[in-house]
Symmetry: C2
Subunit: 352 residues, 2 copies
């Protein structure tokens, strides 16, 4: 830290991304990436001709991509916001809709970045405890008069609220934004985007990083009422108008054209997830009933941190969280069948 950093950021604790060690080739099951490459249409679209236009600025309004996403999901372009990964939307939304006066509430076990944004923007936030079974208690979010932020399905638990429960929360907080982070919804969760047409206070955030095999391209999108999207644009055009580069825009457009490819890959992930649950059961693990591309699992035979560490020694990366409420667990990304079999093979060896 320099002596020039202004006071309010001096105690800020930044987000810690999942590790990306380079010391060896790992079976990488720690950051919830898709194990599948982007579709052929994306590969074809990023041609030399496309790359040779990099001297020109991208379209800051992302017109073509917004239209494609809007059409796929039955919205107008004015209801769609595009960002440099969904983290950027979360950052803009915390900035635009939360403050010291207008507080925020989110689960005490969820995506770790919500707390970081809360601290960064000086938001008076509350972390509502999950129930003992790791589900969200809807009552904690009703008539709360704060900005509500919920990942649905939640991470790292993988558990979902129903659309009816989300609607109750949205309806009971008409003077506050309810942000539903649907990063993992394509793996079996139920999306609440249809509620956007009914409630002006609902913002639904999505990402290309998981179900669309594009964590490396950095592309997020959100659905909301025109006025909410206008607010996000005001922040975007006051921080970084050209936030999406040309190649990511092009890839994002091609991926929408190839939507079937991605939805089929999601089905494949779900099948591998269900297979993996069976294998984990056979190995004596407990796990939560995931609607996502990861499984939150623990074993009585090995504590979470040891399991994580010994897997890593054996070339398999999973994610472990030190929060004592969940430190018994590890979060295992669903990879290919071969990757999962490698995990089970190592696990079997470790438990012997």
């Amino acid at each position: 830290m320099s002596k020039f950093l202004i006071n309010k950021y001096q105690s800020l604790e930044a987000y810690v991304p999942g590790e990306q060690p380079k010391d060896m080739e790992y079976v990488k099951l720690n950051t919830n990436e898709s194990p599948f490459p982007p579709s052929q249409g994306v590969l074809d679209r990023i041609s030399s001709a496309e790359v040779s236009k990099l001297n020109l600025y991208p379209d800051p309004d992302c017109k073509v991509l917004r239209k494609k996403i809007a059409e796929l999901y039955g919205f107008e372009s004015e209801n769609v916001f595009i960002s440099n990964g969904s983290d950027e939307i979360l950052s803009f939304a915390f900035m635009a809709f939360c403050s010291e006066e207008k507080g925020a509430v989110f689960p005490n076990i969820s995506y770790g970045f919500y707390k970081v944004y809360g601290d960064l923007y000086g938001v008076d936030y509350t972390e509502a405890p999950l129930k003992e079974d790791f589900t969200i208690d809807v009552n904690d979010y009703l008539n709360i008069n704060k900005t509500v932020v919920i990942a649905n399905p939640n991470a790292p638990t993988g558990l979902s609220l129903s659309v009816d429960e989300i609607e109750k929360i949205v309806k009971s907080n008409p003077d506050n934004v309810v942000l539903i982070d649907e990063a993992y919804v394509d793996f079996g969760g139920k999306s609440c985007i249809e509620l956007v047409k009914k409630y002006e206070n609902l913002l639904v955030v999505r990402t290309y990083s998981k179900s669309r095999s594009m964590a490396g391209a950095r592309l997020g999108y959100a659905f909301g009422s025109k006025s909410l999207i206008d607010d996000l644009n005001r922040i975007k055009y006051s921080t970084n108008p050209y936030n999406i580069n040309r190649l990511t825009l092009a890839a994002g457009e091609a991926a929408i054209d190839d939507n079937d490819y991605y939805m089929n890959r999601c089905k494949e992930i779900v099948e591998i997830r269900e297979y993996s649950k069976r294998r984990l059961s056979e190995l004596g693990f407990d796990y939560l009933d995931s609607d996502t591309n990861f499984i939150f699992a623990k074993s009585d035979k090995i504590i979470g941190e040891d399991y994580y560490r010994r897997l890593k020694e054996n070339g398999v990366l999973v994610r472990h969280f030190s929060n004592p409420l969940i430190s018994g667990y590890v979060r295992i990304t669903v990879g290919t069948r071969e990757q999962m079999d490698k995990l089970f093979e190592v696990t079997e060896k470790l438990l012997k």
Copy 2:
């Protein structure tokens, strides 16, 4: 605007990027892009193999690129920060080093975004007037006890301060950050990056958007003392750790390997700029003595706004600013020789 937007942003005036009309093919001389494509090494690097790895997150630390940039310019990696366009560094720096208590000062005619960042982050800023000849008055920045932000060469004037003048400013403000925005330095300005080794309060910001033909890739970088770079990383890891996508990282690395290509293109731009100045003189224009890839010019025969408008009607885009101090001028990006000849051809016709 929604009713949910917090008070302090309700009167925010966002930045307005240069127009990108799609109604026809224009000779585009309005956003200071390079007219040349990226180097062959960049085209080769963005291969199908590279694109097919987009399912994986990029390296948030940008280790390889930081090392390459550090080596090219004689720094250590710890002195280099990488961002999603240089606008993002500016945004982070205003956030980290300015506040209501710690004010900022920048020229009243400069990159329009400084004012937007000032407003966004609630900074108490001063706009120091340029002298009548549009040069910066160094005295306005000495012992000022505020964060100093200067584009050098300045935009849209194209005029530079000397390294000695920059050093005076840096030396006289030891308790404040001095940010020098060198977006246009590769076209004949004198860089002050060597001073970074001597002064812990100097941050020098650069971009791939102009001299490296990559406005479309969104890539900026900065040099500073380790502690200043650490501060910027603290903000980055609290907003958007994966801010640079894989393809932009790869392109940025390949461009450093091909540095000669870009420096030769810069020489070509400078030659075309000098040719263009002669042609503008012949057409009776006045212009400032640009160190950049644009020329700030005016004519007694046609006012700036009319000239801009009539050029556009004839398929040539330049940029006009409505600020009354400079509304007589237009800013003309230096394009290819053919593009410039088209501009002069249309101008001749208009002045007849």
